[in-house]
């Protein structure tokens, strides 16, 4: 759901950076508290995630670095520090350290009832925020400068939406882990974009895709031993993306190809018909037969198109001669005029 905003802001990679940036926070939180209490660890993740995000944003606006450079720098720096701390922790004589690496790859099975409540709470909160600031967030996504001239506090909106994205990512870490989290954020949104041209529907669809990926992924991994849940969820989400790319009616590859083919065919017929129209126009009797041979010189003529035109009863074919039907003449006249209009 929040992923829709990341995708539309062209900040898709930000999700990746945030999830990596959260890692040192987890490690530091563990070092300080010496427990694995999820609240402490997630708080650490949240802080370092936010830190990383606003660092990236600052870097982009204050220097001439491209956003992908800034993202890459922060991502690897934070992840490096995180890994360093993790290996350090593993050398510590503390029995508690086992299990921290679940944040790397995620482990949905370790979710407790309390975690689920936390997740639901945050989800509800973000739905409320989206509903509340829908108009403003939409405007910000489409045209940030313009939003400013209308008197809205762009900085506040930006911090708001970014904070929620960070929060969502951090909470997802436990389930799918640092490495795969950005897929969870983006895949549902990317899939949803294919099916609709309305932002509202897109957000709802993304939420549905995300929920289904979670349910199916968990079900599949639960029914097959040895499959960990996080990656399966991501695979299911990616499957939704694949299906959407191929089969969505307007933006999908399949229907695009079909439309292209149909258009080409229709254009071919129209070309032949308009040539016939021009010939027929010069004679008083529009249905006067002409030799098929004279068409050879023009574009768009083939045996198939002639047959197709005859099937549609736009022309009649008699041996080596063709003639236009009244219907065909009218249709051609109509098409011809339309074409002229649109050329103006």
């Amino acid at each position: 759901m929040l992923g829709s905003f990341a995708v539309l802001r062209k900040q898709s990679l930000l999700g990746d950076a945030i999830s990596h940036a959260a890692l040192p926070g987890i490690a530091i939180a563990f070092l300080i508290t010496e427990t694995k209490s999820p609240v402490a660890l997630l708080l650490g993740a949240l802080i370092s995630g936010l830190l990383g995000t606003f660092w990236i944003k600052g870097m982009i606006s204050k220097t001439h670095l491209k956003s992908d450079t800034a993202l890459g720098l922060v991502l690897s720096l934070f992840f490096g520090v995180g890994m360093l701390l993790l290996t350090y922790i593993q050398k510590q004589p503390n029995a508690n350290q086992a299990g921290l690496d679940k944040y790397l790859f995620g482990q949905a099975a370790t979710l407790l009832v309390a975690d689920v409540w936390l997740l639901s709470g945050v989800a509800l909160l973000s739905v409320l925020v989206l509903l509340f600031f829908w108009k403003e967030l939409k405007l910000l996504l489409f045209d940030a400068d313009y939003t400013k001239t209308l008197g809205f506090n762009v900085r506040f909106l930006d911090v708001l939406i970014t904070s929620f994205i960070v929060l969502a990512i951090v909470l997802g870490l436990q389930t799918v882990g640092v490495v795969l989290m950005s897929a969870m954020l983006l895949a549902p949104a990317a899939a949803a974009r294919q099916w609709t041209n309305s932002l509202g529907i897109m957000v709802v669809l993304a939420a549905i895709f995300g929920a289904f990926s979670g349910v199916f992924g968990t079900a599949i991994s639960a029914s097959t031993s040895g499959l960990s849940t996080g990656p399966v969820i991501v695979l299911v989400a990616s499957f939704f993306v694949l299906i959407s790319f191929v089969f969505s009616p307007e933006r999908g590859i399949l229907f695009k190809q079909i439309r292209k083919y149909k258009n080409r065919k229709a254009l071919k017929l129209f070309k032949t018909l308009s040539v016939m129209y021009e010939i027929a126009q010069t004679h008083e009797d529009i249905s006067r037969p002409h030799a098929i041979k004279i068409l050879n010189n023009f574009l768009g003529y083939s045996v198939n198109t002639l047959k197709e035109l005859e099937d549609q009863e736009l022309i009649k074919i008699n041996g080596q001669m063709w003639s236009m039907t009244t219907e065909g003449y009218q249709k051609a006249a109509q098409l011809f005029n339309q074409n002229m209009d649109s050329n103006e």
């Binding site: 539309l8 062209k10 001439h64 509340f132 600031f133 829908w134 108009k135 403003e136 939409k138 405007l139 996504l141 489409f142 045209d143 400068d145 313009y146 400013k148 001239t149 209308l150 008197g151 809205f152 974009r193 609709t196 041209n197 309305s198 932002l199 897109m202």
Partner: protein
């Protein structure tokens, strides 16, 4: 408030803007009288868009003061409408033409409140004014460049402002749209509005505008087209020996 600045729709004093160490606008003084249709001309990188953006508070200047009818821009925001460059937004954004025009009403609505029937009616009227009513439900990605520009114009019209800033509204539009747009701008001027346009095509300046500002980091000249649109100022602005090829 000083009397002097109240006479002008926009008054800019000592405006300086820089990106890092490089000055983009240097000590600009500019007074734009109410009711003019003004072109801002100058070479690429002269700071034309930056000037508009700093007046509108999108870019923060290093120094300088902007007043709108004698008061600060923040107080007068509702009197000013902005048409950004068409290329500044992602036209693949999932929304319709009507929806984009409705955005023009968001400012007067303020936070949280959603547009209702009144706003929708205003938006439809604006679409009609730019000849785009039949495209109201069309996805913005499926509009031509000229149509997208018209939608942007309609969005500004909905704001019902006194001053309009437009950043290259003629860029990438066909001749028909260009004529439609300039007629609309002239209509706005007739209604007493002030219209300020970043413009690239020097040939059309005398025909379209009655006021002009030459800009190249510094302000070269500003005034009525009839008086100051000449080879001398063009040469100063563009740095080469420029001859106005149009007959006046």
């Amino acid at each position: 408030m000083d009397k002097d600045s109240q006479k002008y729709a926009i008054k800019v004093d000592d405006l300086t803007v820089a990106y890092n160490y490089k000055p983009v606008l240097w000590d600009i003084d500019l007074a734009i009288p109410e009711g003019v249709l003004m072109a801002i001309v100058g070479p690429n990188g002269a700071g034309k868009s930056t000037l508009i953006k700093s007046i509108l508070g999108i870019i923060k200047p290093i120094a300088g003061k902007v007043t709108v009818f004698g008061k600060s821009y923040k107080q007068q925001r509702s009197l000013v409408a902005y048409v950004p460059q068409k290329g500044s937004v992602d036209w693949d954004f999932p929304t319709t033409a009507l929806d984009v025009v409705l955005m023009g009403t968001y400012g007067s609505l303020g936070w949280i409140k959603r547009p209702g029937q009144v706003q929708k009616k205003q938006a439809l009227e604006a679409l009609e004014k730019v000849g785009m009513l039949s495209f109201k439900s069309r996805q913005i990605s499926q509009l031509s460049g000229g149509q997208q520009q018209r939608v942007f114009l309609a969005r500004a019209l909905v704001q019902n402002a006194a001053i309009y800033f437009m950043d290259e509204p003629f860029q990438g539009v066909d001749a028909t749209t260009e004529i439609a747009i300039i007629n609309l701008l002239k209509e706005l001027r007739k209604a007493g509005k002030t219209v300020i346009v970043v413009h690239h095509d020097l040939q059309t300046v005398p025909e379209y505008f009655d006021w002009v500002t030459f800009l190249n980091v510094k302000k070269i000249a500003t005034g009525p087209v009839k008086e100051i649109f000449n080879d001398d100022n063009l040469t100063k602005t563009y740095g080469i020996n420029y001859k106005v090829s149009v007959q006046k």
